[in-house]
Amino acid sequence: MTPQQFKENILPLKDKMYRFACRIVEDTEEAQDLVQEVLVRLWDRKGDIVQYKSIEAYALTMTRNLCIDWLRTSGRLLKEDPAEMDLVDPVTPYDLTEFRDTVSRINNLIGHLPEQQREILHLRDIEGYDFDEIASILGLNLNVIRVNLSRARKKIKEQLVKAHQYDLQRN
C-alpha cells in the first residue's frame, strides 16, 4: 500500500477507531492518543495490510487490543470475566433524569453494560457492521454475538422504558 493509498483508505477510519476506543477506555484524550498509536503501527505495516480481508476490521481489532493493553497497564481493566458478569446494576430513573441529553443517557447505559455486550452493541447498532465483521473484529462466534447483542438491547430498552415511565409519572 502506497502512502497515498494509506491516507485515502486508512486515515478516514480514524473516527470509527476513535468512537470504538472511547467506548472501551471511556476517556476521550486517551482514545485520541491510542488512535494515533494504532495509525502509526498500521503505517509500519502498510506493506502487509493489503493481505487482510477487511482492513477496517483489522484496524478496529488493533484498536481494541491496544485499548485493552492500556486498560491493563493503567490498572483500569476489570478483573472479572465480562462474559460471567451479571447485567448492569439497574440505573434508577432518578439517575437517568440527570441526563437531559438523550445521547448522554444512551451512552451512559451502554457504558454500564458488560464489556463484551458493550463492544458488540457498539459495533452493530452504532457502527452498523454485519455479524461476520463483528466476529472478525472481536474473534467471537456468531452465536455468542447474537446472544450478547440481544441481552444488551433488552437491557437498554428496559432502562429506557423505566426512565420513560418515570418521566410520565413526574409530568
Binding site: 480514524k14 473516527d15 476513535y18 438523550t102 440481544s150 438491547r153 422504558v161
Partner: protein, 193 residues
C-alpha cells in the same frame, strides 16, 4: 409500515435476529416525529445510536500530529537498527577477545614491553658510532648480495629446462622418422614380393 409490522420487527431486533436492512427500516421509522407514546423509549434508543455514530475525532491537527509521530517513529526505528548493528558487532568482538584471553595460554602470548629496560648508548663519540653503523650496514649488504648471486644459478636451471623442452620436441620428431623408415621397409618388402 404498520405498527404491527414494527412490533414484529422490534421483537426480532431485541432477539438479535434482524438484518441490517431491517434495522434501517426501524431507524427510519423512529426518526419520525409523530410517534405513539409506547415507542418513545425505542425512539430515544435509535436516535441516541444515530447521534453517537456521528461523533468525530475533533482535532484539526490530528493528521499533522500523526505525521510527526510517524516521522519520529521511523527515525527512531532507523537509529535503533543502526545501534543494534553496532551492538552486534562490538558484542561479537568482545566475545572473541574474551575467548582468546581465556583459552590461549598466557606463556604463548608475545609480551612486548618497550620500556622494560633502558636503552643506553654504547659509544661516547658520535663519529665512531656513525663509522660502526656504516660498517655494520656494509656487512649486511654483502650478505644480501651473496644471496642474490646464488639466484643466478637458478636462472641457469631455467635455461636448462627450456633446452630440455626442445629435446622433447626433437624426440617426437625422431619417433615420426622411425615410423617413416618402417613404412619404407614395408614398401621394399612389398616390392620384393
Amino acid at each position: 409500515m404498520t405498527c404491527n409490522e414494527i412490533d414484529k420487527l422490534l421483537k426480532s431486533y431485541l432477539e438479535g435476529e434482524t438484518s441490517l436492512a431491517e434495522e434501517k427500516i426501524l431507524r427510519d421509522f423512529f426518526s419520525r416525529g409523530d410517534l405513539p407514546d409506547k415507542y418513545k423509549p425505542y425512539a430515544d434508543m435509535f436516535r441516541g445510536f444515530g447521534a453517537m455514530a456521528s461523533v468525530q475525532l475533533e482535532d484539526r491537527h490530528f493528521e499533522k500530529k500523526w505525521s510527526k509521530k510517524v516521522k519520529l517513529h521511523t527515525r527512531h526505528g532507523r537509529s535503533l537498527s543502526f545501534f543494534s548493528q553496532w551492538y552486534t558487532i562490538t558484542g561479537v568482538a568482545a566475545t572473541l577477545l574474551l575467548a582468546v584471553v581465556l583459552f590461549v595460554p598466557v606463556k604463548k602470548l608475545p609480551v612486548i614491553n618497550l620500556f622494560s629496560h633502558k636503552i643506553e648508548d654504547t659509544f661516547d663519540d658520535p663519529r665512531q658510532a656513525y663509522a660502526e653503523t656504516v660498517r655494520a650496514l656494509l656487512i649486511i649488504s654483502d650478505k644480501i648480495n651473496a644471496g642474490t648471486n646464488q639466484m643466478k644459478d637458478l636462472e641457469k636451471l631455467d635455461e636448462g629446462l627450456e633446452d630440455a623442452g626442445k629435446m622433447l620436441t626433437f624426440n617426437k620428431g625422431l619417433k615420426d622418422a622411425n615410423k617413416l623408415s618402417k613404412f619404407s621397409e614395408n614398401q621394399v618388402d612389398h616390392n620384393n614380393l
